[in-house]
């Protein structure tokens, strides 16, 4: 009787996999050889397993153990019963790992194990449901703390913790000295071609809403950006902007959100405030420049996040870290059609995450500018209406262990009138100290 049960079970199991294989490979016809193999393997498995199970259970006095073992192994096998064929994860905003080959053109694939693990981790059955269940538990708390993020439902704050460190942890004196030397080197180099240097420390939510961060206490209220500004202010051919006070006031006036609630970045409004502050400073050196006003644009309102005027909307970093669901989008933002100012964009390097482009603006001020910085550059460049704006994403080339000297020729050839570095304050130390190795 046991043998019949086992036979039936394994035959169905074999046929299930055969069907699965059939669908995956898109075979036009029923493959008799696969079916025969299934049948043969089923027979062998069934014969051996049933004999062995009979031997195993020969001394068995209680069937509870048997059921326990069967249930446990069934649970362990469930995740591979229906491997997903998806190639992209929307919730994770990335391509899923592909199934690796055991051999490559150069021979045996020594990374097979690692790659197989990545593939299986991305494709096993019920993965999304299990992940969402775990994330929902976290999301139900008032506070959510991931490895690198924090959000407080009550205070409506989402903060990226490494940037919080960067905002408040004062660097060592040697680091400050290194930063000062780096900036001085760039300022001197630019002064030779009569290019003006400006550094903008973009205020972040961690300093604007410092009083609302209930899990944190700030004995040292002075932010690192303030310290840096003080340190760099006396360098010639350089002007430093850090409008924290203004952003704090704006947060109290509730005109519009300066930062996305579900992201760490600035909204169009916040970016424009920062832009107009910078332009007021630049105007002192270049009186002919025109400052774009927000009312020159139309806007649309929605709850999504957008990195730049030409890109798609998405749910924001907070949702990607927790549960990627629209129900957690609780705020509405104004998105301005700033892209209408763009004439064309010339891509110099646009490998994943990199951004080295030249933006040509319609009716832009008659100057050339280089805009370099962290991800804040992406939104800022839409407003930055000069004839030509060369953008460099600082974090990208620093991560590749390059530094600014690698762009010496680029800068000389472009011959800019204005050089702007814009960094969110939490990353200021991290990036400026690596400007030159």
């Amino acid at each position: 009787m046991k043998k019949i049960i086992f036979f039936t079970f394994f035959l169905f199991l074999g046929m299930y996999f055969e069907r699965h294989f059939y669908e995956v490979k898109n075979f036009k016809t029923f493959d008799i050889s696969i079916f025969s193999s299934c049948l043969l393997i089923t027979f062998l498995l069934c014969k051996k397993i049933s004999t062995n199970i009979c031997n195993l259970t020969s001394n068995l006095t209680n069937k509870i153990d048997l059921y326990f073992v069967i249930i446990c192994f069934t649970i362990l096998c469930i995740p591979i019963f229906n491997i997903s064929n998806e190639t992209k994860s929307i919730t994770e905003n990335r391509n899923l790992a592909i199934h690796p080959n055991l051999t490559t053109e150069t021979g045996l694939n020594l990374k097979f194990g690692e790659q197989f693990n990545s593939w299986l981790s991305d494709h096993f059955y019920l993965r999304d449901k299990l992940i969402n269940a775990a994330k929902n538990i976290n999301k139900s708390n008032r506070y959510y703390l991931a490895d690198d993020a924090y959000f407080d439902k009550e205070e409506e704050l989402f903060i990226y913790i490494p940037q919080l460190y960067g905002t408040y942890f004062a660097p060592e004196k040697s680091t400050l000295k290194k930063i000062k030397n780096n900036v001085k080197k760039l300022a001197n180099q630019l002064s030779e071609t009569n290019t003006k240097l400006y550094i903008v420390f973009a205020p972040q939510k961690s300093s604007i809403y410092a009083d609302k961060l209930k899990l944190f206490r700030f004995l040292n209220k002075n932010t690192v950006a303030n310290l840096l500004k003080k340190e760099l202010d006396n360098i010639s051919n350089l002007k430093v902007l850090y409008p924290l006070k203004e952003f704090k006031e704006l947060s109290l006036q509730h005109i519009d959100y300066t930062h996305f609630y579900s992201d760490t970045h600035m909204t169009d409004f916040g970016t424009w405030v920062l832009y107009s502050d910078l332009m007021n400073i630049i105007q002192k050196d270049f009186p002919r420049i025109k400052i774009t006003q927000l009312n020159e644009f139309k806007y649309e309102e929605n709850k999504y996040v957008r990195s730049m005027a030409t890109s798609d909307y998405f749910l924001g970093d907070m949702n990607q870290r927790t549960v990627n669901s629209e129900k957690y989008l609780t705020k509405t933002y104004k998105h301005y059609d700033v892209s209408k100012m763009l004439n064309k964009v010339k891509v110099i390097d646009d490998t994943e995450g990199a951004s080295e482009k030249i933006y040509y603006h319609k009716n832009g001020s008659p100057y050339k500018a280089i805009l370099m910085g962290s991800s804040y550059v992406n939104k800022f460049n839409s407003f930055f209406n000069f004839d030509q704006v060369y953008t460099l994403q600082l974090n990208k080339f620093l991560d590749e262990n390059r530094d600014l000297s690698d762009f010496h020729n680029t800068i000389s050839d472009f011959h800019p009138n204005i050089f702007v570095i814009i960094i969110n304050e939490g990353n200021a130390v991290k990036y400026l100290k690596k400007l030159y190795h």
Partner: protein, 467 residues
């Protein structure tokens, strides 16, 4: 491959179990050997050659030792050469750079560091293999002439990468002939689930708490937080390591082996001497049998005996890693062992007061020890310990206490404390059917929760693509 990885849980383990179940008895060892080699080669196949060389050295070394057993000198020479062969791999991969760095520091030299990644489990399988060699020399075990069986002993995947360090004499008979019964498989499965839960539900949760504290400069947290960090790490280490041992013992049982226990509620010890009888038992037994006793053990003068003890603990520290923190940690424990030996502290009996004092003393000693063990540098450990006792004055707190630990983590902390006490020691030996059913249901729930936790750990969003 790790026991808590999706590849192991969902593919490797079910397949190997099924194959091991269906093949005839004479093929079971081959299945396990092939599985063990795949298991080891999964992450870094290049280092498979090191392990195979290790097996060859020990196979031929043991044959040589056995062949010349009547000629002590040659036999000893072969033994020494084989041990040097074993240790040379360990030395090169684990300690070479550490020594070079220190030579560079002391003599202001610039000798290049070798770019090597330490083969996973090398400390475990080297010690395991050496025990076989020494036992053959001591004529405590029969020589194993079957290369595959010796290879299986050294590579056996359940205990390959994190122990327990199984001595050949303990499983020699099981390699030749072992019984596979359903009750053993069921027991093994339960031990595996216990181990997986310890790792995924307790160790990883408390590990996150410890990581948050230890990632900060000491002046950024207060005294209470320092204690939370130290205790969280103490529990993380215990549940991580004992969880891995439970999984190894459980897998061993599923495949018909019986490994000796590696942990026996070490945190209820009343002295550091007792702690080492309960903590990583296979390692302390190994050092006792293959280092302490050859050094003379306690059959020497008192001074020499104390020195022997200190050497053993220094070696224990160095075995754990090539960092000064491990050396200091080993010396720290050696110091307490010597003090206890001198004062006969471990054997002192008394009322509840003394018992409580002994508990508190032991907890303080090993928790401080774990701080040294976890700290990135000895200097950091020193400042951390001073912060724990309020002796470090510089303060620049950024985080409130609640940043470091939330309600879930407090609950897990409570569970960790309860499970570190032998309240449920006999849970697997219950006879009543109702209890058995309830316990099995509980284990299934634990398995599901642990798998969910493994699944959640595969969530890997790409955050900054759009900006």
């Amino acid at each position: 491959m790790l026991f808590s990885s999706v590849s192991f849980l969902f593919v490797f383990f079910p397949i190997v179990f099924l194959l091991h179940l269906i093949v005839p008895k004479n093929l079971k060892n081959y299945i396990l050997l092939i599985a063990s080699i795949i298991f080891y080669a999964w992450g870094e196949p290049r280092y498979l050659i090191i392990m195979l060389l290790n097996i060859v050295i020990n196979y031929w070394g043991a044959i040589g030792v056995h062949h010349y057993q009547d000629n002590k000198k040659i036999s000893k020479l072969i033994l020494i050469l084989s041990i040097i062969g074993n240790l040379s791999f360990l030395f090169y991969f684990k300690y070479f750079n550490f020594i070079v760095e220190n030579i560079n520091y002391v003599f202001h030299l610039k000798i290049d560091i070798v770019k090597v990644i330490m083969p996973i489990g090398i400390s475990f399988y080297t010690f395991q293999a050496m025990s076989y060699l020494v036992d053959v020399y001591r004529k405590e075990v029969e020589i194993q002439t079957d290369f595959c069986k010796l290879a299986l002993y050294i590579t056996l995947f359940p205990q390959l990468i994190a122990g327990p360090i199984v001595k050949y004499k303990d499983i020699a008979k099981q390699i030749d002939n072992r019984d596979i019964q359903l009750d053993k498989i069921s027991y093994g499965m339960k031990r595996f689930v216990i181990g997986l839960s310890k790792k995924m539900l307790i160790a990883n949760t408390l590990g996150a708490v410890a990581d948050k504290v230890f990632s900060l400069p000491v002046h950024n947290f207060d005294c209470l937080t320092a204690w939370i960090g130290a205790l969280a790490y103490s529990f993380q280490l215990f549940y991580d390591f004992s969880g891995y041992s439970d999984m190894a013992i459980g897998l061993g049982s599923i495949f018909g082996f019986k490994f000796l226990e590696n942990f026996n509620y070490p945190y209820i010890s009343k002295s550091i001497t007792e702690f080492w009888r309960r903590w990583h038992i296979s390692l302390s037994t190994w050092f006792k049998e293959y280092l302490y006793i050859p050094l003379g053990g306690n059959r020497v003068s008192k001074k020499r005996n104390l020195l022997n003890l200190w050497i053993v603990f220094l070696a224990t520290g160095i075995w754990h890693g090539a960092e000064w923190t491990f050396v200091v940690w080993g010396m720290w424990h050696g110091l307490f062992i010597i003090i206890e030996r001198l004062t006969n502290f471990a054997k002192k009996e008394g009322g509840k007061g003394l018992s409580l004092f002994k508990h508190i003393y032991t907890i303080l000693a090993f928790v401080i020890g774990w701080v040294i063990f976890r700290a990135p540098t000895v200097h950091y450990a020193w400042r951390y310990i001073r912060r724990m006792f309020g002796l470090y004055s510089k303060e620049e707190y950024l985080f409130y206490f609640s940043y470091f630990i939330n309600y879930v983590e407090i609950f897990v902390f409570a569970c960790a404390i309860i499970c570190a006490i032998p309240l449920f020691k006999n849970i697997l030996n219950t006879k009543s059917n109702i209890s058995k059913i309830l316990i099995n249901i509980w284990f299934i729930c634990l398995l599901v929760m642990s798998i969910s936790s493994v699944a959640a750990s595969t969530y890997n969003p790409f955050i900054y693509f759009r900006f």
